[in-house]
């Protein structure tokens, strides 16, 4: 008759009470599993949309301050040996595409209105891999043979009242410091999902932009990898590679170093998750303390008898801790299972849950629950630990009972 077996039988003495205690833990853990799953999916979605909205996985520039002020003076940062670098990057199996890009501020004017825009110019044939989340809302996408044609983000088009088929004038400073102007035909209007980007982005093919700016290389190389998981390893490898070579100094940045919004959202959800976890665990602690204190009270005489026939105080403590352990184990397992079942039902039977546009986003989205093995395990262990910890108080109360008084207890 081990302590664990005795504890197991004890927790089923008052089946109804144990059921309610287990339900509280189960629902709490289920909520954590679901919320974890939701946050993970949402962050994954945000990560991929951030990467595929022009950020790529890795960005290479010739100086650190290109990433802060480069768009207003791209000419200071042009690569001198662009082709060699592209070839070296392209040689890595994890690399899907290397996209040369120039980004510059310009004024875009229609017949009546004008506005400041940020022009993104990449080779049209590579733009799909970099702007995978870009959606055409009117007109068409740029084609490889398109020159002097432009795509406007939705907010820009609304701001300056541009329509598909209209001709706009773009003005910007060129390499030699002069102001250049060119007429561009609007072929399509797109949305990027982020309101902030929709209000300022304009897309051009790279040859047109280079000709317009009078440059023969770009200031930024964007690397798109086969999988986001490769980011860290590839960054480390290419940083080492380029550092060991003579020539222009290079700075490599991973997407998450450049995605401020993503980092904010991640931090926000992380805090939310911690608060939620804390509150749920607090509820679990008090539920268990309540249940087990009642159990100690009901079993006062029995504890007295156990002590009288020679059970040590530690034996009583061990018994109640073991009961806490079983409750945590059962509650944790059932909570995790329920969480996984509910996730799966929502994902497969209901096709996810519609989430209205979060702050800063242009569109709502369909959320799925994709809890990770690690967080599920964490929540389970948390339930277990918290249950045993909560049992400590009633256990020590039980162990401290005076034997003679306990035996008299009615």
């Amino acid at each position: 008759m081990s302590t664990l077996l005795l504890a197991w039988r004890n927790i089923f003495r008052n089946k109804r009470r144990t059921f309610f205690t287990l339900s509280a833990i189960m629902i709490g853990i289920m909520a954590l599993v679901l919320f974890d799953g939701f946050v993970r999916y949402t962050l994954w979605g945000l990560q991929e949309s951030t990467i595929r909205n022009g950020l790529g996985h890795l960005q290479l520039a010739t100086a650190e301050d290109y990433f802060t002020t480069g768009n207003f003076d791209p000419f200071r940062y042009l690569f001198t040996d662009q082709e060699a670098i592209v070839n070296q990057l392209q040689a890595r199996p994890e690399v899907k595409n290397v996209v040369p890009q120039v980004t510059f501020a310009a004024t875009l004017a229609s017949a009546e209105k004008s506005g400041i825009v940020m022009v993104q110019a990449v080779p049209v044939e590579l733009s799909r891999s970099l702007f995978g989340f870009r959606q055409i809302v009117a007109g068409r996408d740029l084609l490889a043979e398109d020159r002097y044609r432009v795509l406007l983000a939705r907010g820009v088009a609304e701001k300056i009242g541009a329509q598909v088929g209209e001709t706009m004038t773009m003005m910007a400073i060129t390499r030699n410091g002069g102001l250049n102007a060119v007429d561009l035909e609007v072929v399509g209007i797109v949305t990027l999902g982020f309101r902030e980007l929709d209000n300022m982005q304009v897309f051009l093919d790279l040859p047109t932009a280079m000709e317009f700016l009078d440059i023969d290389s770009v200031p930024l190389l964007i690397t798109v990898l086969e999988k986001t998981e490769y980011t860290g390893a590839v960054k480390a490898a290419i940083t080492q590679l380029f550092n060991s070579q003579a020539g222009q100094p290079l700075v490599v940045k991973a997407w998450d170093e450049l995605a401020d919004y993503y980092q904010q959202v991640r931090g926000f959800y992380g805090t939310l998750l911690r608060i939620m976890r804390f509150i749920i665990m607090l509820v679990v602690v008090f539920t268990i303390i309540n249940t087990m204190t009642m159990s100690v009270l009901e079993r006062t005489r029995e504890i007295g008898a156990l002590r009288a026939i020679g059970t040590q105080k530690n034996g009583i403590i061990r018994l109640f801790l073991a009961e806490g352990l079983w409750i945590g184990l059962l509650g944790g397992i059932s909570g995790v299972l329920l969480g996984l079942i509910v996730s799966s039902v929502i994902n497969h039977l209901f096709g996810g849950v519609y989430i209205p546009p979060p702050p800063g986003m242009a569109e709502g989205y369909q959320a799925f629950f994709t809890p990770s093995f690690a967080t599920v395990g964490q929540n389970f262990l948390l339930a277990l630990g918290v249950a045993v910890l909560a049992a400590l108080y009633p256990a020590s109360k039980g162990a401290k009972l005076k034997i003679a008084a306990a035996l008299r207890y009615l």
Binding site: L6, R9, E302, G304, R307, I309, K402, A404
Partner: protein, 227 residues
Amino acid sequence: MIIVSLEQVHKGYKLGKATVPVLKGVNLQLAEGEMVGIMGPSGSGKTTLLNLMGGIDLPDRGKVLVYNRDLAAMGDRQLATFRSETLGFIFQSFNLIPVLTAYENIEYPLVLQGITKKERWRRVEAMLAAVGLTAVKNHRPDELSGGQRQRVAIGRALITRPKLVIADEPTGNLDHQTGKVIMELMKQLNERAKTTFVLATHDPVVASYTKRVLYLRDGLVVREEVQ
């Protein structure tokens, strides 16, 4: 040989702010192999006296020596070990562990002593036979009659082969006939194994099974009868 010796033992209980004296200087001695009854009206201090002998309560003043060991000088841990190795307890309301079967209840004190499973099995089966419970050994207490439950309690008290068995109103919750059977059983065990029994009762029939009866009144031993 004297195995229990109480010298000028005082014990009181706090009731609100006042202390109610229960034992007021009790002196008594028990010899090995005796079966001693303690009689007295309710509140005369019978249970308190047994608790002191069993080391589950300590005197306010005076000495309680069991096998020449001063129980007041022992720590909680030592006392628990002492109870487990030396004493057996039988309670009026049985105090069995409701989630354990008759077999497991009797086995429990042996588990505390760390005895091997095989040896436990051998001893528990023998004890079940001795107290006549082999047929219901897998029943839990709530599936047993009052008499059967007290047999389990007796089995549990004797399984460690204690030197002293302390029984507080062992037949108090049993009908007359069952009480007599239980007393016969205890008497047999006393005679066969030479185990010392001390039992509190206010039933003269129960007391008649003992060889010596101590009468307790107002916290003092007022009379002693040897049959």
